[in-house]
């Protein structure tokens, strides 16, 4: 999960927060596949930094 949130941060977003976990496939015909592959639904939110914040980021 952290790896995924790092992708969101890497795309330029700040304040990346994990939200609710959702058992998307519960009760569906595909529930067994989802359990086998440990599939989850997850919510997340993030914010595009302001211009000042972006200019504060050091560049290499």
């Amino acid at each position: 999960m952290e790896e995924y949130l790092d992708v969101v941060r890497g795309a330029g977003f700040a304040d990346v927060e994990l939200g609710e976990m959702v058992d998307v496939f519960s009760g569906s015909p595909h529930e067994s596949d989802a359990r086998e592959f440990e599939t989850r639904g997850v919510g997340f939110s993030a914010r595009k930094p302001g211009r000042q914040e972006r200019s504060d980021v050091p560049t290499t």
Binding site: V7, F13, V22, V24, S26, E38, T39, S45, A46, R47
Partner: protein, 202 residues
């Protein structure tokens, strides 16, 4: 970030996703390998009374992951992009939140979903909703033109998640919010899985 197994091209995945979701728009009661519909929408957090207040066609073809709109904390007058809007359920909910002075742009790359979402917006009489046919990685929108971007279950279908995220970032104004729901694997796929287009939808 592109995680395609050998032998699967991004174009092939995109074409398969477009075909599958056009099928959902046309015949939502069919089995597509993933949950679809109103009962599913209720199961992942959409309030029944909220769905009852919207055109049935929107929830019938719902194929998202969760209910992201409340988390977006939308305000009247805001501009919202619903990336991968499907049949338009989240676009309608966002439109209620931003009101007649706001603007909701639903974007989907499956033509039949776009047709369905446009019908739904017309039936709901929400002129602040505009539905566009476009690729999520090349949005026909100006830089920094949106206050919020909603994404409900399309990152997991897109071969290039970083490109999709960067495009969402491009259209957001500084300080704008990205609110998303996504399907993830919490463990590595077993050996031999994930190598076919059908696996992409499991």
């Amino acid at each position: 970030m592109s995680q395609l197994p050998d032998g699967l091209s991004p174009d092939a995945v995109q074409a398969a996703v477009r075909e599958r979701y056009s099928g959902v728009a046309a015949e939502p009661a069919r089995d597509f390998g993933f949950p679809v519909g109103r009962a599913f929408a209720e199961a992942v957090g959409y309030a029944p009374e909220l769905l009852a207040a919207l055109p049935a066609e929107a929830a019938e073809a719902f194929a998202g992951v969760a209910c992201p709109v409340p988390r977006a904390e939308l305000h009247p007058g805001e501009t919202v992009v619903d990336l991968g809007c499907g049949a338009g359920l989240d676009s309608l909910l966002a439109a209620r939140a931003v009101g007649e002075t706001g603007h909701v742009i639903g974007v989907d790359f499956a033509p039949q979903m776009v047709e369905r979402a446009r019908r739904v917006a017309n039936v709901a009489r929400m002129p602040q909703v505009e539905i566009r046919l476009a690729d999520g990685c090349a949005l026909p929108l100006a830089d920094e033109s949106a206050d919020a971007v909603l994404v409900n279950g399309i990152f997991n279908l897109n071969p290039d998640k970083t490109a999709l995220l960067r495009e969402a970032g491009r259209v957001l104004r500084p300080g704008g919010r990205l609110v998303a729901a996504e399907i993830i694997l919490t463990a590595p796929l077993p050996e031999g899985e994930g190598h076919s287009l059908d696996d992409w939808f499991r």
